[in-house]
Subunit: 398 residues, 2 copies
């Protein structure tokens, strides 16, 4: 519910709403904006002026002729502010600078260990981010988005019992980074942000998306009705320890203490172990991908079977969520068609026909950038929401 | 995105937003409304007058003393309009009249067959509803909500390939009822509406709810971030044909053509068949419930095992959706603790510990009324949304 004043001495009422129209990137004249919104021309002029003053829109070259007179066109100015996007993994971090359109302006990836704890890791983030901001021409920071490899209480930005992150439980990530950066700081689970990144950059026409990361672990991010579904504790999408329905699954013990978990059967370490058992040498995810790409039959077979096992869990997800697209990401998605074929085989066999009629199953297009793109998209969605734009416009005037 | 004029000659800008505040049922004075919203006193007076004129709020008995002067208090007037709520099953229909608070004013259940097709069934709905409206004092109809036992494209109100409803595919339900009733007509899947009914009446403090109907079939309705998740084709929540992970499940053939489907293993007909195989006489859902309540050991055992099988699928749903509550409804939920115990046993064993830390698993409190309560709630949510109230207030003035 939003009950906010719609008028006041210094306000530009509705500038935020008007701005949403221009976020499609299409330049428009004042007359066109008046026509689309049904607002009075004087109101449009007032709001356009406010957005211009705040730098959020800019006049663009060329004019349109309306009734013989040349009229200025305005478009969204994605360069007016920048966003810092941080993707923390178990053994490395990526820090990127994007514009308000989500385009990456600069990016760096450095090794670190998430197990060093939040203060050490976030201080390294702050150093890398500060350097990046200094090197950039653009000084005004709209916000910072951070992805971490564990469940997060999104409202507070605090990790909740993350299994591979000693010292991070309930740590105030925004509070700590806030000592260095006075801006909006939002935190989410890394797979949620990969889902958001892939969705915002590649599949924004889909309202219901299931993004599945297949790497050292297996997890997913759920887009429902166009936005992330994080669940009650922020653990929604956590598929790694779902039980696989197969006659042999029960014999496989998982590090979580249960048997038959998807991760213990179909994630990278399980595939690598199977290949080693068969006389191979695969240790890492890259080894598996290389072997598949090199045509190693055992690797192709193992990855395809992992696809089937993942597919048997995704079939349930399809019946439950009825997405219009499943996107497979994470390192093992680089094994491409073989993983995809296994997943498709079982999903189309086991899901409701109605739910698979229009279902696409594809591999990620944003690849390793999905995480930072999602961290950026999360911040952009927040700072360019109508009320946030109204507040920004008002601050710009004072 | 909403870009609507916020002012105009006959508008009461923001009356709809102000009204949302009063929907908690708490009476408030103009001064209190001004304080909560930060709006000018003159603006509050204008909006309160508009809502009073439209009948949506009413002065209530007693006054508050503010600064020595008695001040009138206003509250939401749930009696200002009525909602028709229709719940269509395979063999019966329930038609109810509710107020805008969702309280049932009148209700009737009549036998019919959904297989008679949409024209015959909806014409019977129209007759029953017209009689009910005539008998009621209150003539103004806010809208009609209809639940049907199959997937629905919610935006158009058209069923999509409903398996047990010959003749209903893509039938324009709102269009047909609209010939008799000139009002808002919304249609949804029956289990979605049961979820909405149970959520709105009993668990509205929970933002993430999984409602599971266990009867002749098994289905679910998903509340995520406080609203229904219907999926891309309206089939979200359809759990009946999800594969059960057990060593014997694979041998059980389902009417859908697959093996090991939850419905073929744990729904009413499967339980009844198992009881008959063991020498019992159970035919109907009621027979099963009666046998359990009568302490029949075979029935208790079968229902508990059905609970375990349902639980094995719900464990995956819990990991995927991270709800804070699972509500078991439908006829078999009347078998109470035995079904619940089976579900709990497996969900707590197989779901992620983080996702079950705060998880409640309970049986439905609204019982057989869940469907009509949900149909009513769907209409109320729509006709009392801020923009809808603004439009209604404006119409009331002209």
């Amino acid at each position: 519910m939003s009950v906010v004043p719609t008028s006041g001495p210094a306000a530009a009422p509705g500038a935020g709403d008007l701005f949403q129209l221009l976020r499609d990137g299409q330049p428009r004249t004042r007359a066109e904006l008046a026509q689309v919104t049904g607002l009075a021309r004087s109101t449009i002029t007032q709001r356009v002026d406010a957005l211009l003053a705040a730098g959020l829109i800019a006049p663009i070259g060329g004019t349109a002729r309306t009734g013989g007179r040349p009229a200025a066109r305005f478009a969204w100015n994605t360069a007016s502010r920048v966003v810092l996007a941080v993707d923390l993994g178990a053994t490395h971090m990526s820090v990127a600078l994007t514009d308000l359109g989500g385009s990456v302006l600069a990016e760096t990836t450095v090794g670190m260990s998430i197990a060093d704890g939040p203060v050490a890791v976030l201080d390294r983030v702050a150093v890398a981010a500060s350097e990046m901001l200094e090197e950039a021409d653009q000084p005004e920071l709209a916000g910072i988005g951070v992805g971490i490899p564990g469940p997060v209480e999104h409202a507070t930005g605090k990790p909740t019992n993350p299994p591979i992150m000693p010292g991070w439980d309930a740590f105030d990530v925004p509070g700590h980074l806030g000592k260095t950066f006075d801006t909006t700081i939002l935190v989410d689970n890394d797979v949620n942000l990969m889902a958001l990144g892939e969705h915002s950059r590649q599949w924004s026409s889909h309202e219901h998306v299931l993004f599945v990361k297949v790497a050292t672990g297996i997890g997913s991010g759920i887009i429902a009705d166009g936005s992330l579904d994080r669940g009650a504790q922020g653990s929604a999408g956590d598929l790694g320890h779902v039980r696989v329905a197969s006659t042999t699954a029960e014999e496989i013990v998982c590090r979580c203490g249960n048997t038959g978990c998807l991760e213990a059967i179909a994630a990278g370490p399980a595939i690598a172990a199977r290949l080693r058992d068969a006389g191979g040498t695969a240790e890492t995810l890259q080894d598996i991908v290389d072997a598949v790409r090199g045509g190693d039959v055992a690797a192709v077979h193992a990855v395809r079977q992992a696809g089937r096992d993942i597919g048997s869990v995704l079939a349930t997800c399809v019946s439950l969520l009825n997405p219009s697209i499943i996107v497979l990401g994470g390192k093992l998605a680089e094994a491409g068609e073989f993983l995809l074929a296994g997943v498709r085989e079982v999903v189309y066999q086991r899901s409701l026909p109605l739910a698979t009629t229009g279902l696409q199953i594809v591999t990620s297009k944003t690849g390793i950038e999905a995480g930072v793109l999602g961290a950026s998209a999360m911040v952009i969605d927040s700072v360019l929401a109508p009320e946030a734009v109204d507040a920004y416009v008002q601050r710009s005037r004072t």
